[in-house]
């Protein structure tokens, strides 16, 4: 399988003195779901920002779909942030249209594509609502739709469900897998939740405390589609324990 993202010997130093990331190398095959976990402050978000072209690393190379990514390129990479990043002055439909409107997409096409996304995330009929009129889970659905609307082959997600309650979080994880299976995107997903990591991932990368390094790569070979029942199985528990032991060592 060809790689959608390749990182070679990436290091980053903050403000010239504080080492943040150390010799990161990774390879995400096209269409795979990769989850990154690690202790707070280990630099996972920095790494994601670099993959998105929003920040420049000190050393090393990033290749995304065969080319470097020195600045944001929404045609290749879509970023999905936490729910609070929706624009409160726009309706949910206008929020989804926002990336398209930045490149001057014609109004009719914009509306059509945004409504298709709204349907994909199960929010048909909520296009006219403002973010403050939506629940946390619904806001996150809008946020996902906004990240998908330009149909980028690569999706980067920075703890997208961290602000949600446990039940909504599980539902959203399930929803995300459903959407992912219909779109065949390459996903890099950051989380603090080990259960979420095992449930979603093809592969889990475990990072150490600062300076962040990749200390373990765990293939999750649970069958797809994943179900809630799998969480109660021994295999699931063993995988989660392995990640937990690595993180404790890392901390």
């Amino acid at each position: 399988m060809s790689a959608a993202i390749e990182v070679e010997g990436l290091s980053h130093v903050y403000g010239g003195t504080v080492p943040a990331l150390e010799d990161i190398s990774l390879r995400v095959p096209a269409g795979r779901f990769t989850v990154i976990v690690g202790p707070s402050g280990c630099g996972k978000t920095s790494l994601l920002m670099m993959l998105a072209g929003l920040r420049t690393q000190t050393r090393g190379a990033i290749t995304c779909l065969g080319k470097p990514i020195p600045q944001p390129d929404p045609e290749r990479v879509g970023v999905i942030f936490q729910e609070a990043s929706l624009y409160p002055w726009l309706t949910s439909l206008e929020n989804i249209e926002f990336p398209l409107s930045l490149r001057g997409t014609p109004k009719g096409e914009m509306r059509r594509r945004a409504e298709a996304m709204l349907e994909l995330v199960g929010l048909t009929g909520f296009g006219g609502r403002y973010p403050h009129e939506l629940s946390g889970g619904m806001k996150q659905r809008v946020s996902i739709a906004r990240g998908l609307v330009q149909d980028p082959p690569v999706l980067l997600m920075d703890e997208p469900f961290a602000a949600l309650d446990e039940q909504t979080r599980m539902t959203m994880g399930h929803e995300l897998l459903r959407i992912w299976s219909t779109t065949s995107k390459t996903v890099v997903f950051i989380t603090h939740s080990l259960t979420e990591a095992v449930y979603l991932a093809d592969e889990v990368l475990v990072m150490s405390a600062r300076p962040g390094r990749i200390i373990d790569r765990i293939t999750i070979d649970l069958p797809r589609p994943r179900t809630y029942e799998m969480m109660a199985t021994d295999v699931f528990g063993r995988l989660r324990d392995r990640i937990w032991r690595q993180i404790r060592k890392a901390d």
Partner: protein, 247 residues
Amino acid sequence: MKVIVARLALLALVLAAWQLLPSRGLVNPLLLPPLGDVLQMLGELVQRAQVREALAVSAAEVLLAFLIAVPLGALLGVLIAEHDYLGEVFKPALFVVFAIPKSIFLPLFILVLGVSFQQKVAYAAFTTTFVVLMSAAAAVESVKQDYLLVARSYGATQLQLVTRVYVPSMLPLLLETLRISMIFNFTGVLIAEMYASRTGIGHLIASWGENFQMKQLFAGVILLAAAAILFNETLRWMEHRVSTWRA
């Protein structure tokens, strides 16, 4: 509904008291002339050429000071909010100066510019610029970094960041700034006119007071209050329209 009835009842009560207490002799009508007499005087005053001219002068001073202070204050406010170094250097000084009552500088303005139109405009613009500057800086800092990061990740240009994120995000605060700055601006012009002047509505009100012409004085107060309330409510209505999302 009940609240609205109660509010109207309160207004009616105040107006009725203003009419009845002096006319029944419960309050000295020389100090507080009945409302009817004051309104009649107001009708006469707005016909007088001297009053009209004074109003025109004051309006010109207010408008000019506003046109100077708002862009100047906004520009300086955005500069110290956006530019880290300038912010570090100037913010503490500005906070200290902000606390000083600006009216103590009025004699200085008279010494430099004389008792003149320019002096009124300069003083009002001076007091207003500080308010606009502080509010504009706060408005810029109120824009969440996440909003900017999202737009950049979708490839927004610098110009698009300004028009699509900064402006809509700051709009409610900016309108509030305009409203508050107009209050300061209006106050600045009136104080300058009442302190030392040859014309302007503030000057007329001050001289009516000195000459114990209470009907004229109260008519002037009503006129200015109406103008200020009208402007304030118009902007508040606009503010409300653009800030429905700030729930």
